[in-house]
């Protein structure tokens, strides 16, 4: 080979594009012109964003890009922002290695529109109402709706939710005034200031309250009707009558059985519902919580050093005689003990393990210990009497919680009940189990970007801390560490909503398709898993 030929070859190598590809409309062969293709290094020290536009043939190429791993994303007005390697429109992407061996393809899904009108019970348009599109999602195992986008109606009551990723949505309207209040504030904008005065001196009082009303006309999100959005589609006529509903009161009395103590003067109250917590105070031990809508609540009362709670369910009447018995809080001494530590498995450093105590059921009471001393001892200050779940603030990678004892009663699976002076002992084992492996498709190939979930055996599914989830790597591998020994099942879904595996109804449908795996103390299990396809 002559020197010239070698030089030409080197030159060609330098000139060869680092990455090229084509952008087309999903489900068609139609190219998308003037789409913005962005290339970002996965190496955080390189923050440069390289950008090119696609040609009329939908083609793009990047030249002179240093070798490495990159994320590719494609944007075009009217299409869902796409990432290379995503499993569905709007899903997680996977990195690509540059220089790339072959041309890549990115499919763009056209966005869709939902439109309609919000009116009151007399058929009059409701302006300045907030209209929200939500998707079903899972929050701590419960089905709930997660807001995706919201817009505000104009004076004709009209709205347009646009730029939506195709899929299933639920639409709600809330005619409550969207207050931004007075004075100055900060939000996603840097700062703003405003003043607002009213022609009126007082608002017209009312016992009615505006809540989100779901299409076709229900305050109950479970009864909301799904709206299917197809790519480039517009679903019109999603009209909602947003009538206010009657709100209720929770009235009651705060009292105590503590000898020699009584409840006088101001009490602090906390009303914890499914989705929100409201703080208020009452100048006397009798209280009147207003504007409460139907649902399950925990009312927490605090008077000086005493505190207590009561569960209340509101249907369609006021609750008039709630009694909250408050008692003195306790200081609970505790200790974190590491078992089975060795030179190879030193286990976690106890000084990094803050103990977090949450009321069960959750009512917003969360107590966090200071970092334990080197001998593992700590003190939980002012713990109100009641039932709690105890965990660490961080997930352990090199250990697992073996036991949580308050006095002599074990509370790892069931929680602890604080009734009187007692000591908390948390035993951590330095020999957790590990499960690792790869996810295969029907052809037996490893596949990247697949959500893999480790689920504990049926009787331990309330232990949400035992669940683990991770997407497979570029080479199709996963690895879960810091596992508690026991029986588990492994699932790998091609498409799954985050947290769905905590929902028992969802799991019932897939139970048979999981792979059983036994985790043993200090051992590594190697597993090959078949992806679940719909």
């Amino acid at each position: 080979m002559t020197a010239l030929a070698l030089a030409v070859m080197l030159l060609l190598q330098v000139l060869a594009p680092s990455l090229q590809g084509v952008v087309f409309k999903a489900g068609t062969a139609e190219p998308v012109a003037r789409a913005t293709v962005e290339l970002r290094s996965t190496d955080s020290s390189d923050s440069r964003v390289r950008t090119v536009l696609t040609t009329n043939e939908g083609r793009f190429s990047f030249n002179g890009v240093p070798g490495g791993q990159y994320q590719v994303s494609v944007n075009r007005l009217g299409y869902v922002s796409a990432k290379y390697g995503e499993r569905r429109a709007g899903g997680q992407g996977t990195p690509i290695t540059i220089p790339a061996a072959s041309e890549i393809q990115v499919a763009l899904t056209a966005t869709a529109v939902i439109s309609g009108r919000i009116i009151d019970s007399q058929g009059q348009p409701l302006g300045n109402a907030t209209v929200t599109a939500s998707r079903r999602s899972f929050l701590q195992g419960r089905q709930s709706l997660a807001e995706v986008q919201s817009v505000v109606t104009n004076d004709l009551g009209d709205y347009r939710l646009f730029g939506m990723t195709p899929g299933t949505y639920y639409v709600s309207a809330n005619a409550a005034p969207r207050g931004v209040g007075l004075g100055s504030g900060t939000d996603s904008l840097l700062v703003f200031r405003m003043y607002r005065e009213s022609a009126r001196t007082q608002a017209v009082p009312t016992e009615e309250i505006h809540v989100p009303i779901y299409y076709p006309g229900t305050a109950d999100s479970v009864a909301a009707a799904p709206i299917e959005l197809k790519p480039a589609g517009e679903v019109r006529g999603i009209d909602i009558i947003a009538t206010p509903i009657r709100a209720h009161h929770i009235r009651g009395l705060v009292t105590t059985n503590e000898p020699g103590q009584s409840v006088t003067g101001e009490v602090q109250l906390r009303l914890a519902g499914d989705s929100a917590i409201r703080f208020t105070s009452s100048p006397t031990p009798t209280f009147d919580l207003q504007r409460v809508t139907r649902g399950k609540y925990v009312v927490v009362a605090t008077s000086g050093t005493m505190s207590g709670r009561a569960s209340v369910e509101v249907f369609n009447t006021d609750i008039n005689n709630t009694t909250i018995v408050v008692g003195n809080s306790l200081n609970i001494p505790g200790r974190v003990v590491v078992e089975g530590a060795s030179v190879e498995n030193p286990g976690p450093d106890v000084r990094t393990l803050r103990v977090v105590v949450r009321a069960d059921p959750e009512d917003g009471t969360i107590l966090t210990s200071p970092p334990p001393a080197a001998d593992g001892s700590f003190m939980l200050q002012s713990v109100p009497l009641g039932k709690y779940r105890v965990r660490f603030g961080t997930v352990l990678a090199n250990g697992y919680i073996k036991s949580i004892r308050l006095g002599n009663s074990e509370g790892l699976d069931t929680g602890i009940t604080v009734q009187g002076p007692s000591e908390l002992t948390i035993v951590v084992s330095a020999k957790p189990g590990t499960v690792q492996g790869r996810v295969l498709n029907e052809r037996g190939e490893s596949i990247p970007n697949i959500m893999t979930v480790l689920v504990p055996d049926n009787d331990l599914r309330t232990r949400t801390d035992l669940f683990r989830n991770a997407a497979t790597s570029v080479s199709g591998e996963f690895r879960f560490q810091g596992l508690t020994p026991g029986n588990y099942k492994l699932f790998a879904w091609e498409e799954v909503e985050s947290g769905a595996w905590l929902n028992s109804e969802f799991m019932r449908r897939y139970e048979e398709r999981g792979s059983a795996v036994v985790v043993s103390e200090g051992e590594i299990q190697q597993v090959q898993l078949r992806v679940i396809q719909e």
Binding site: T111, R178, L182, S184, L189, L190, R193, P205
Partner: protein, 601 residues
């Protein structure tokens, strides 16, 4: 439904009043609510009667409510004598509120006196239908631009300067269309800002027509790099584009809305709002002489805009900063460390009474600004004395006064500024001791004026001096810790000006704005101006006037604060009444009102 909820409340109010009625003869007020410009009656309007001056300082004003019947009528019975305001509103936004004595749908009404046992009838409150502005936002290729922020603006005056203030903010839809609505009839301007990465609900502002509001926003500019044809890379950001005026607010085209009217095709070419930006680089040194690692640095523009862009950044490990996104103009460069009172260094209100800070004036032209070096220092303390001259109200003593420094101009984005239109959050509040001595702490660098609140209405601020600086005339520029005390003299015996407003035919002019303007040499001193509104009998009164020569002006309708603008006031100078005020004197004057300002704003 609404009426059912209102009636029991009204009944309670009436019951409460009945006990009063036993002692004093009570009166009644009757009237009708109609649509402005016609005889169509408005049913279901909420009418509110509020005592404008409570019977004693300790009691809260009595409020009475009624709803109009199907024939638009309302009646209040068993009303004790007193001074009241009356306003009709209606839920839903299609009608602007109507207030007793109101001159136009954007203006406020006036109070009136109901004497004991008096019956007022035949009151007519006219509600104007609200109006809309619609249009489209498009780019250089004529393509619609979704998610653009569109603002409805109103002109107002701040310290004698005309500004455009946001009254409503909406966003364009996927077709680039927008609709501004529920606007009270009057003059508006429209501007749009391309900020499609900021699609947050907070950026939408819709006031009901019975809410009067103004808003000013500030955000970090989104800076994008663009390579020119000659291969040079420049940085750009989006700025406001005004309807009919490009990026210059002075050229914005006015949109006049009639009751129930609509202005369509108010289209905005948003690509005009692309502005080249420069960088500002430099270093921050802490009060200890070391590099101020992690100091927050922001550039606050001196020039007002309804939406300000505040470029900002954080000093690196060597104390260096490199801030992108500055368009040409004059800025206050604010550097601070440990002063953030929000949730992050760049996105918060700053409280520089804590930590250390520095304010430096910088000018950005057509290139990057290099080597700006700032030194942080702790906030300063002031001591001073409030001296009282003249005979004082026996119940008042000097410890009731509150001395504050307020930033002047009070720019959004500067540390420790006040809320817009609110009296909250001043730099520091000084409470004098019995001998008038006071201390102010936590004062950072900057320009201030001195205010004294909590003083009797007869009193006026005679002088404020810091060493040889006449603070009332020249303001207070704070660069370093003061070495002399702040000397404030308060005089208890200000002049009083009372009188009535009349029209050309010498008839009583109701709800006129009366403004006392100081002589030419002192027109820059905002504290010397006095403003009053004449009541339903055309009466007004001003007190606590500093001795001196003034001109008295009166207008039927005038935008608040415009009288500080020399060009405006010049046209009315000839009609004004010269007044010479001496200490402790009382004068009665009759002033004829100018029927119209030449042009709406």
């Amino acid at each position: 439904m609404r009426r059912a909820a209102t009636f029991p409340i009204l009944a309670v109010a009436l019951l409460l009043r009945l006990t009063v009625a036993a002692q004093a003869p009570s009166g009644s007020i009757e009237g009708v609510v109609v649509r402005l410009g016609g005889n169509e009656v408005i049913a279901g309007a909420d009418v509110e009667l509020t005592q404008s001056e409570p019977p004693s300082a300790a009691s809260s004003p009595a409020i009475f409510r009624a709803s109009t019947t199907d024939d638009g009528k309302f009646v209040f019975k068993n009303i004790p004598g007193g001074r009241y305001r009356l306003v009709a509103t209606r839920a839903g936004g299609t009608l602007a509120p109507a207030e007793y004595g109101q001159r136009d749908p954007k203006g406020r009404g006036t109070s009136f006196e109901l004497s004991a046992g008096q019956s007022m009838s035949g009151i007519r409150l006219s509600m104007a239908a609200t109006a809309t502005i619609t249009g489209r936002v498009f780019d250089g290729e004529q393509d619609p631009v979704p998610n653009t922020r569109v603002l409805a603006l109103e002109a107002a005056y701040q310290n004698g300067r005309r500004i455009l203030s946001t009254v409503q903010a909406v966003r364009t839809n996927d077709l680039g269309e927008y609709r501004l609505f529920w606007l009270r009839p009057g003059r508006y301007y429209v501007a749009a800002l391309r900020d499609d990465f900021r699609a947050y609900s907070f950026s939408i502002l819709v006031n009901r027509p019975d809410e009067f509001g103004q808003r000013q926003d500030a955000s970090s500019p989104t800076v994008r790099e663009r390579t020119l044809q000659d291969g040079r890379a420049i940085e750009e950001t989006s700025v406001l584009v005004y309807y009919g005026g490009g990026t210059d607010a002075a050229n914005a085209r006015a949109i006049d809305l009639l009751p129930g009217g609509s202005a369509a095709t108010i289209d905005i070419p948003i690509h005009q709002g692309l502005a080249q930006t420069q960088r500002v680089r430099g270093s921050v040194t802490g009060s200890d002489g070391q590099a101020a690692v992690g100091a927050s640095v922001r550039l606050v523009p001196l020039r007002y805009a309804p939406h300000l862009m505040i470029p900002n950044g954080v000093a690196d490990r060597q104390g260096r900063f490199n801030i992108a996104g500055a368009v040409p103009g004059i800025y206050w460069l604010v550097a601070s460390l440990g002063a953030s009172s929000g949730y992050s260094a760049s996105e918060s209100l700053l409280d520089i009474s804590r930590g250390t800070s520095s304010l430096v004036r910088v000018e950005v032209a057509d290139r990057d600004l290099e080597n700006v070096s700032v030194v942080l220092q702790s906030a300063f303390g002031f001591t001073g004395r409030l001296r009282v001259e003249g005979k004082s109200d026996s119940k008042w003593d000097v410890t009731q006064a509150r001395i504050s420094l307020v930033r002047d101009p009070d720019l959004l984005g500067l540390p420790n500024t006040t809320g817009l239109g609110a009296r909250a959050a001043v730099q520091s509040n000084g409470v004098p001791s019995n001998d008038g001595g006071f201390a102010l702490s936590g004062i950072g660098q900057g320009e201030y004026r001195v205010t004294v609140a909590g003083i009797p209405s007869s009193a006026y601020l005679k002088s404020v001096a810091l060493g040889s600086v006449d603070v009332l005339r020249d303001g207070l520029r704070v660069q370093t810790a003061p070495t002399t005390p702040l000397e404030i003299v308060l005089n208890m015996e200000g002049g009083v000006l009372a009188g009535s407003t009349v029209n050309e035919k010498s008839e009583i002019a109701v709800n006129a704005t009366v403004v006392l303007v100081p002589e030419l040499a002192r027109r820059g001193q905002a504290h010397l101006y006095k403003v009053a509104t004449s009541d339903a009998l055309g009466k007004f009164e001003m007190s606590g006037i500093a001795p001196g020569t003034y001109n008295l002006f009166a207008w039927e309708s005038v935008p608040a604060g415009v009288w500080m603008e020399p060009e405006f006031i010049r046209d009315f100078e000839a009609r004004s009444k010269p007044v010479n005020v001496t200490g402790g004197s009382r004068q009665d004057v009759q002033i004829s009102v100018a029927s119209q300002t030449k042009e709406p704003l």
